[in-house]
Subunit: 200 residues, 2 copies
């Protein structure tokens, strides 16, 4: 029996699932720690470990990031929801967003940028490339270090436990935030039943 999938065309749009809610941090033109929320981002390379995050030229973060060529990407947890949403609305041109959101700025260890101490996971990045795309400029960052709160690590101590990190998922359609749900299965494992090792 074939299941019918009646697809409706929604036109061009930025609907992808899941999208993250990342906090991008830089030292601004005044040397002040600044941060902004970015949903257009993700990992883009394994070696060197790199991420991409897109920023509008109108953003206060933009010139500072291009000038310092250093930034951090911090993963806010569910407990930081209001602050994470706020720093996507206010501008560091006029406001000390760290102070207003109740965030603590720490100096990164490997790059010339601050990070949000309250975020359970922090990626320290240096700008390796940028690409103007239209409304946004894609910033590529080589990840020099991942820092995680000790109490968010899994049993091995090697990786964060995603349930303890409790990251935000941004839904661009309904403009809402969601949490991470239950574990569904192991990767590179649950699909093995479809493999025929002698062929594949």
């Amino acid at each position: 029996m074939t299941v019918q999938h009646s697809k409706r065309s929604l036109g061009p749009g930025t609907l992808l699932y899941p999208e993250p809610a990342l906090l991008v941090c830089v030292w601004d033109a005044d040397g002040k720690a600044n941060t902004m929320t970015a949903a257009w981002g993700g990992i883009c390379c394994s070696e060197p470990p790199s991420l991409a995050v897109s920023i509008r030229p109108e953003r206060w973060t933009y010139a500072a990031l291009l000038s310092r060529k250093a930034f951090t990407v911090c993963i806010p947890s569910e407990a930081m929801l209001a602050g994470a949403d706020f720093v996507g609305m206010a501008s560091g041109r006029r406001v000390d967003k760290f102070a207003r959101a109740g965030f603590s700025a720490e100096k990164a260890e490997f790059v010339d940028a601050p990070y949000v101490a309250e975020c359970p996971v922090v990626l320290e990045c240096s700008l390796s490339d940028s690409l103007e795309l239209g409304s946004h400029t894609l910033m590529i960052g080589v990840i020099h270090d991942v820092k995680a709160d000790a109490d968010c690590l899994d049993a091995s101590g090697e990786f964060p436990d995603i349930a303890k990190v409790a990251p935000l998922i941004y839904d661009a359609g309904s403009r809402a935030y969601y949490g991470v749900g239950r574990k569904l299965g192991e990767a590179f494992s649950i699909g093995k039943k479809l493999l025929r090792p002698e062929q594949d």
Copy 2:
């Protein structure tokens, strides 16, 4: 009272939360529909609506995508977990991955590529740029259309309901898949209590 955040350095790595599990589809060199799982991807521009997805040159998808300059990015749902994991392990060089995973290939409407009919959300893309980064090449795609299953739309009919889409979250640390959890709040809203409109 200041909460102490004892951060541990994990070294360079590709740990970002959440990461997606995307199915990238192309017509391959033989004209066969092929798909692969990609976790290194996300939206990268609002205007024109664009996404970025990174692919290793060793992948069977790689040359086909660069040659046709067209692809789709399909969002698998929880029910498709084993198939989505499988197409990240097998190679289209040797296997008809659509057939083996039980996926149906449909022709995209706006670009010269197939899509996975069972995926509740499909983004039809044309390649607008590419950037070699190291292990992976970043592919930028302009999104010409988003298609969604009619029964996955929200009450407005304008957007997918993320709970009905039930997308996969990939955890690169533990190499496991997770589902989307509960709604936490409205974006551009829950942080408003921190705004002072006369200043910000």
